[in-house]
Symmetry: C2
Subunit: 313 residues, 2 copies
C-alpha cells in the first residue's frame, strides 16, 4: 500500500446528489440547514444544488433560493452543478462559488441519454464554455470522465475507450492553453470493481504520471468502499462523496441507482488508515442523522449507526 | 494485487447470525424456508442455528426444530454454532453436520463479557472438547481469534496480543496432534480497517506462511468490503458472510452492532475481479429479498437493489 496518500480532499456532494434523488419535496429551509451544518464539519467544499431544468428535476427548482439563503462560513466553497451554458449562467447570478469543469462520457449512448448530447456536441459546447470561463477569469477546476467503468446501456467500457475520451478532454483544454488540476473518473452507475479501478487508474498513471486523479463513486452494488481503497492504493487523493450515502442518479436507467460513497464512512476508513481528511467524524455523523430526518427514511451510511471508535480508545 | 486467490470459499452464516439478532420471533418454518433457498445458491455450507442458552438468546430456542425440519441438499453442509460442550452435545443429537472448532478472544475483557470465560478457562474447556472430537472421529475444521482487531471494552488490540492468542491456539491443537485447516480472524465488533487487516495478516503470514487464513467481518462502520479486499490482496480465500448482510452480535455492547459482510455483495465483487465463488448471484439476490420479507425490514445488502451486471452485458 505504498502509494497511499497522506491526506485526501473530500468534496461533499450530499445536498445536490441527495436531494435531487428524493421523491418528496424537501423544503428550501431544510436544504439550507443541512448545508450549513455540513460546513461545520471541516469540509472545504459543499455542492449545494444543481442548475438543471426544473421540469426534468423538480427537486432542484429552488436552486437559486437555496443559494441565496445559505449563511456562508469562511474557508468553505459552496458550489452548484451545471450541465450546460444556461446552467452556468444561472449559477453566476447566485452567490455560489463558480465550479468550472469539463467532462465527457466514456459511454456514447449514456451521453446522449443522460445529457442529450454526443461527444462531438459536448466538446463543441464545452469549447464555448471554456472561452466564457477564460473571458471571466474563472479558473478551470477539474475534468471528469463519466461512466468510466461501464454503463447500463453500452455495457462494458473498454479501457481504450476511457483513455480515448481522456485524450479528447486533454486536447480540448490544451486548445485553450489550460490544464486539468484534477482528472476525475466517475463510476456513474456502479460498474467499477477494485480490479477495474486499478487497471484503469494504472493505465492513466502510466500515460500521465503527474496528473492528479479523483474518483466519483456510487455504491450501487456494495463495492464503493473497496473501490475507494483501490483508488487510495493507486495514489488517488481526491474523492466526491455524500454525507449519509445520500444520492443516486435519477436517469441511470434502473430503479436501484444507489447513492454516492458515504462521506463519513470514507473519512472514517481514511482516518483509521492514517490518511488525514480534515473532517470531524462526530459532526459528520450528526449531519448524517439530520439528513435521515430531512428525507424521512433510512440512509445507507454505516458510521452514523456504528459510531466512531474515539469513545472506546 | 498479485496475491489474489483464484477462488474463495464462502461460508453462509445468515440464518444463524441474522435471525439471532432479530427482535421479532421468526417462525421455524420461515427459517427453514430461507435455509433451503440458500442451499440452492451454490453455497457449500450454511450455518443454520446456534445451540446457545434459550434464556439468553430466545430467538434460537427452536434450534433443534430447525435442524430436524431442513430438507437437505446433497453437497451442502448444514451446521450449527455451539459455544461450549453442552451446545456441542445438543448439536450432536440433531441431523446437522458437526462443526468442530476452537477459538480464543484477543480481548480478555470481551471473552469474559461475551462468553463468561477467561482465556485460561476457554483453553481448559476446549482441551476437553478436542478430546471429545478425537474420541468421536470428528475432524477439526478451524480455529478463530475473535475481536482480533479491536474491542469496545479494551479498545485497541496490539498485534502482539493477537499473535500471542494465535500461538496459544496452535499450542492447544498441537497438544492433541492436530492442525488448523483454517485460521479465522474475526472483526467481531467492526474495528478493522484495511491497514490493520494487512498488518495483522502480514504478521501472521510472516510467522506461519503455509497457514490457510479466513476472515469473519462485520460491517459496523462501513469498511467490511474494503477489509475483504485487503484480505483478498493478502491471499485470504475463506470468508464467513451473511446473505443480505443479516446479523450482528447482540452482546457487543453497543446498539449499532451491524451485520456480517453481505454474501452477495462480496461474491459480486469477487466474481467481477475474476475470483470464482461458485455462487449464483441472482439466486442469492432472491434469497436476500426473502430475508427482508422474513425479518420485515430493509437489510443492508446492496446487490439485491442494484442487481447484477449480467443483463447489461
Amino acid at each position: 500500500m505504498s502509494d497511499l496518500p497522506k491526506q485526501v480532499y473530500i468534496s461533499e456532494e450530499g445536498p445536490r446528489e441527495g436531494f435531487q434523488f428524493e421523491k418528496k419535496t424537501i423544503p428550501t429551509v431544510e436544504k439550507v440547514r443541512f448545508i450549513e451544518a455540513l460546513a461545520e464539519t471541516g469540509v472545504r467544499e459543499v455542492q449545494c444544488v444543481s442548475f438543471v431544468d426544473p421540469n426534468r428535476v423538480p427537486s432542484m427548482a429552488d436552486a437559486e433560493d437555496v443559494a441565496a439563503t445559505i449563511r456562508r462560513k469562511k474557508g468553505v466553497r459552496y458550489t452548484g452543478l451545471w450541465l450546460n451554458k444556461r446552467g452556468l449562467l444561472r449559477t453566476r447570478l447566485t452567490p455560489l462559488d463558480p465550479m468550472a469543469w469539463v467532462g465527457l462520457y466514456a459511454s456514447e449512448a449514456f451521453s446522449v441519454s443522460n445529457q442529450g448530447r454526443s461527444t462531438t456536441e459536448l466538446i463543441s459546447s464545452q469549447r464555448d464554455i471554456l472561452a466564457y470561463l477564460a473571458e471571466h477569469d474563472i479558473p478551470l477546476e477539474f475534468g471528469i470522465i463519466m461512466t468510466a467503468f461501464g454503463c447500463n446501456i453500452e455495457g462494458e467500457i473498454p479501457i481504450t475507450r476511457t483513455i480515448e475520451q481522456i485524450e479528447r478532454l486533454f486536447d480540448l483544454v490544451a486548445e485553450c492553453n489550460l490544464q486539468l488540476p484534477v482528472l476525475k473518473l466517475a463510476d456513474t452507475v456502479g460498474w467499477a470493481n477494485p480490479g477495474s479501478i486499478i487497471r484503469v487508474l494504472g493505465e492513466i498513471r502510466e500515460k500521465w504520471p503527474e496528473q492528479r486523479l479523483g474518483l466519483h463513486l456510487h455504491d450501487t452494488r456494495g463495492t464503493a468502499m473497496a473501490n475507494a481503497l483501490a483508488g487510495l492504493q493507486m495514489g488517488v487523493d481526491y474523492f466526491d462523496s455524500a454525507c449519509a450515502g445520500l444520492g443516486g442518479c435519477p436517469f441511470a436507467g434502473h430503479t436501484g441507482a444507489a447513492g454516492n460513497i458515504c462521506t463519513e464512512d470514507l473519512a472514517f476508513m481514511c482516518e483509521e488508515m492514517g490518511i488525514s481528511t480534515g473532517l470531524d467524524l462526530d459532526a459528520l455523523i450528526a449531519c448524517a442523522r439530520m439528513a435521515e430526518e430531512i428525507v424521512g427514511h433510512p440512509l445507507p451510511g454505516k458510521l452514523m449507526r456504528g459510531g466512531t471508535l474515539r469513545h472506546f480508545r
